[in-house]
Amino acid sequence: MALVRVRFENGLEGNLNEHVAKAAGLEVLDEPTTNGDGTWRPQTRRNSRRRKPKTSVSAEAAKKKSNDGGDQPASAEEAPE
């Protein structure tokens, strides 16, 4: 049986076998399973937005801090009195 596009329990959308989708009671979407060039469509978030890698706020802040050279004020005018 063919693949269908479904919305999974965690909210993501992806391709799944039709039998499995029916048995699991998943919502079948009226969307294609392949891209225009014939390749299989990857899993996406709702409304076909691509999944983004999870980022950690603290890790990103630390990276920005190291790139900026720390929290030191850039000029004497910005320094606290």
Binding site: F8, N10, G11, N15, N17, L26
Partner: protein, 177 residues
Amino acid sequence: MSVLFPEATKAQGNISVTVVASIDDTSAPSLATDVNATSSVNVSCFLYDNGSVVNATTNKVTANARLCTTEQFQQFGNTTYEVSDLIYVYDPQASGSADENQAKDLLDEGSDVYIVERNGLDARTSAYAAAQLVNIYHVRLGKQNRTRQGDAEAAEFSITQSAILLEPPVYDVAIAT
């Protein structure tokens, strides 16, 4: 200093593999909505033993020599991930929705699935639970080749399927509630 002699963990019967259709966050797979989702299938008793799921091979290249150097050392190059073929049982005469063909159905060509591998606990009696450590492989599935496993009188009908890794494997992550 005392010499440690750590206990080895028996592998036979203690490898559980579940195919999960979708995982929102591979760093904290949810027990309820990912691992135990209604579309997930525990394929531990479908799969034949074909070694480890993924083999990572990193090239070793020789660093360029400088005018002043008389020794050359190696560097690490690209890493290639290779997923072992999935070989599993199926019933050639059963309908698609039969229990015997659950693995065949879920592992349909073109699906992107997550292979969740739990090692070190009894595959048949120990249920997945929060805080257990698992390895996660996000793969895209290839063609399902109808094959036979074993020789002559031991031969069984099976499916041999290739898969490719879509992102680096995630090792030793704890299952979230």
